[in-house]
């Protein structure tokens, strides 16, 4: 029923002139024609679908970059799926992604809702807060690696918290650093999503709630949060896909270490394909990653009901 909210009222006019007017109205407001999607589709096909197919083919080949690839059957797949480092890397990837979602989501909702308000100094503070978003991941990682140096960085000054500062020498703290740095870097982006979404909530709702005697917390939990539902899912999918494909932070901050303790799948793929010149195995790892990312995104979309596109605007006029 609610789907009707997004399409224009179906009132067919008997006169030709009226129909024309109506069809141009549909063109402007309703779903655009296929031609509109053509550039994006083509772009996606050439830069995503075609390479994906080529990677799939390559995963059944043995190739070190010299000469032509040779058919290797299931050899790469057997090696990759038997590899304890690969199995570990999948768990690490999922763990880092889950950590990212769990930490960043509440943080960015709170910040986003705050940034949507009319307070004084809000604009200045939010502008400062958005700076990390403007830096490249590489710069951010180099910066934090230097800041967290055990002898010359923050840990040397705060020994009661960091001890000997061996943050990159233990698995738990190394993962903690990776999660922290991506939170520092990407929370501003998700804050931006929530800020926009929170601004779009009609003030009528809050006015009505106030008349009903709802306090600030009730307003937040009963109006703001439900209204942000679709944004939460959008932001979560972006986080999950971003988390599963994290690469630069690991490359620069930990190089997969100590040992293989932070070797996530994307980094492992790089190591196999571009450092070890085992392109077949690299392609197989890449494909595992693609499948995992697709499955996780589909689950999120299904579970959240995002695919049904229900409006959050029921009852608002």
């Amino acid at each position: 029923m609610t789907t009707q909210m997004t399409s224009p009222p179906a009132v067919a006019g008997p006169v030709r002139k009226a129909r024309r007017a109506e069809s141009s109205y549909v063109a402007r407001v309703g779903r655009p024609g296929f031609a509109w999607a053509l550039p994006a589709t083509l772009f996606f096909a050439v830069f995503a679908i075609v390479p994906l197919i080529m990677v799939a083919v390559l995963s059944f080949m043995s190739w070190n970059g010299l000469g032509s690839p040779e058919f290797a059957g299931l050899d790469n797949w057997r090696r990759v799926l038997d590899d304890p480092v690969m199995i570990k890397s999948i768990w690490l990837t999922l763990l880092l992604t889950a950590l990212g979602v769990a930490v960043q989501t509440p943080l960015s909702i709170v910040l986003g809702v705050w940034a949507a308000g009319p307070q004084r100094n809000r604009a200045v503070l939010s502008a400062i807060y958005f700076i990390p978003l403007l830096l490249s991941s590489t710069a951010v990682s180099v910066l934090w690696r230097a800041l967290l140096d055990p002898n010359f960085g923050i840990p040397a000054q705060v020994t009661w918290l960091f001890g000997d500062g061996n943050l990159f020498g233990e698995q738990s703290t190394a993962i903690g650093v990776l999660a922290f740095v991506s939170t520092w870097q990407f929370t501003p982006f998700h804050t931006l999503i929530y800020q926009g979404a929170a601004r779009a909530i009609p003030p009528v709702l809050y006015q009505a709630a106030e008349i009903d005697g709802a306090g600030r917390y009730r307003q937040f939990f009963h109006i703001t949060l439900p209204q942000l539902r679709t944004s939460v899912i959008t932001s979560m999918i972006i986080m999950i896909v971003g988390g599963l494909t994290t690469f630069e932070t690991v490359l620069i901050l930990t190089q997969g270490g100590p040992g293989t303790d932070t070797t996530i799948s994307a980094y492992y793929m790089y190591q196999k394909a571009f450092k070890g010149f085992d392109f077949g195995a690299g392609a197989a790892i890449a494909l595992v990653l693609v499948i995992a990312a697709t499955v996780v995104s589909l689950i999120v979309v299904r579970v959240s009901g995002y695919d049904k596109m229900r409006s959050t605007m029921e009852g608002v006029s």
């Binding site: 550039p39 970059g65 002898n151 010359f152 500062g165 020498g169 010149f277």
Partner: protein
């Protein structure tokens, strides 16, 4: 209104059309490939500050040669990847920069490189004018594949003179003296040895030296040629035991895995007197000159790696980056021109130019010009070290093929932090690919 709405659609269609056209143009372009013979020889080198000399040498060569040389560079870190992708295509160079050992092994196996033995027969100077310990790291299956270019970079044990003097410690000549120094320094509250464990390869240097001192170069030579039993030998276990002792004595402190060499953190520890020693390649001197000029000139000491009494390795053996090499592709159309070009690698002009930018060439005429180098004493120390060394072991991660690189680095880090014990480390090394 209506005409305005039409514009975006037209634009989109146009863009899509342009996209497909340009893409198909790209597609057909890359297949054909230019390459082939353009009457010149192409020299491909790692792009960095040393290119200054390579440009000069190419210019000298072009003055007299009918076949002209062209210098191509690939910047820094991407070198090996890019080389691997072009070497078997028509865009491949005639002559290219490499690190010898494992870095050219896949190319030799794919039968892409020209053995230089005919050149050497023609001009014995291409062999006799270089130090023998260096040349051997570009010999594969008994054939020479590389002529040294740029400089040698042996690994040395550096120290902070003031820190040692304050603790009453002399630079250690033997392993036991090193252990004693560690103990004394630790009691004075100084980290005995700075280690950039976060980079992993500085950790590897300790294994390279201790293994050579204990077992001699033969053990590793066997291992890298596929003899997996070498890693399980008694000597191998003894070397690992010694490394374990050193780590457990607290020689490296506790947080070395969070310290990096590459961001200047571990050299700073030594320069500021927070640590006493650091084992590093000879480029360390230049690094300290850049980071802490005063310390480099007055406070930085250097020695060879301590000897291990009773060990099978010659006490004057060294490890490190033996040299960079020029290798030649089999399909070059101008082998005579290439040979002439390679002869310049032992010319006086080449040696002088390399010394001037701080590289130490390994030619026999180098001593004549050592006084012209920026730091003559340091250059002479290294040169004598390399000249006297019966064996100069190429860094393990470069002696093995590239696919073994990451597993080696992971294994040494895991042995240091205790995740791998002796047996675990041996197994990890036995699992390394050797071809």
């Amino acid at each position: 209104m209506k005409t305005r709405a039409r514009w975006p659609r037209l634009l989109a269609c146009g863009a899509a059309l342009a996209l497909t056209v340009s893409l198909s143009a790209c597609g057909s372009g890359s297949g054909g490939g230019g390459g082939g013979d353009d009457g010149k020889i192409h020299i491909l080198v790692y792009g960095d500050a040393s290119n200054k000399v390579e440009k000069q040498i190419v210019a000298t060569f072009n003055k007299t040669s009918k076949v002209k040389a062209v210098l191509d560079t690939i910047p820094g870190a991407d070198y090996q990847q890019k080389l691997q992708t072009i070497i078997n295509t028509p865009q491949a160079p005639d002559v290219f920069f490499n690190w010898g050992g494992g870095s050219i092994k896949p190319f030799v196996k794919a039968d892409l490189l020209m053995p230089l033995d005919d050149f050497i027969k023609d001009d014995p100077g291409l062999k006799d004018n270089f130090l023998p310990s260096v040349l051997s790291s570009a010999v594969l299956d008994g054939k020479s594949y590389g002529v040294p270019m740029r400089g040698t970079q042996p690994v040395l044990l550096f120290h902070n003179k003031k820190v040692l003097a304050d603790a009453g410690v002399r630079p250690p000549k033997t392993w036991d003296e090193l252990l004693a120094a560690v103990k004394t320094l630790k009691s004075k509250g100084v980290t005995p040895i700075a280690l950039g464990g976060g980079d992993q390869w500085p950790t590897l240097m300790w294994f390279e030296y201790v293994y050579d001192r204990v077992a001699g170069p033969e053990l590793f030579r066997k291992a890298v040629n596929g003899d997996k039993d070498a890693w399980a030998s008694a000597d191998s276990k003894k070397a690992l035991g010694m490394i374990r002792d050193l780590v457990e004595a607290g020689a490296f402190g506790t947080n070395y895995d969070s310290v990096k060499y590459t961001n200047g953190a571990s050299p700073a520890l030594v320069a500021r007197g927070k640590a006493a020693f650091e084992l590093m390649g000879s480029w360390y001197y230049a690094q300290q000159q850049q980071d802490a000029k005063d310390f480099a000139e007055k406070g930085l000491g250097y020695t060879a790696f301590p000897t291990v009494p009773g060990g099978k390795g010659d006490p004057s053996d060294i490890v490190g980056n033996t040299n960079n090499f020029y290798s030649v592709l089999k399909k070059t159309k101008h082998p005579e021109a290439v040979e002439k070009f390679l002869k310049l690698m032992y010319s006086d002009e080449f040696v002088k130019a390399q010394l001037a930018i701080g590289n130490l060439p390994t030619t026999t005429n180098t001593p004549k010009f050592l006084d012209t180098s920026a730091s003559p004493a340091y250059a002479r120390f290294q040169y004598d070290l390399v000249k006297k060394a019966p064996s100069f072991q190429l860094s393990w991660d470069q002696a093995y093929p590239p696919s073994a690189n990451a597993p080696i680095r992971q294994a040494v880090q895991q042995f240091f932090n205790g995740q791998l014990d002796t047996d675990g480390f041996i197994k990890a090394m036995q699992a390394l690919p050797t071809e």
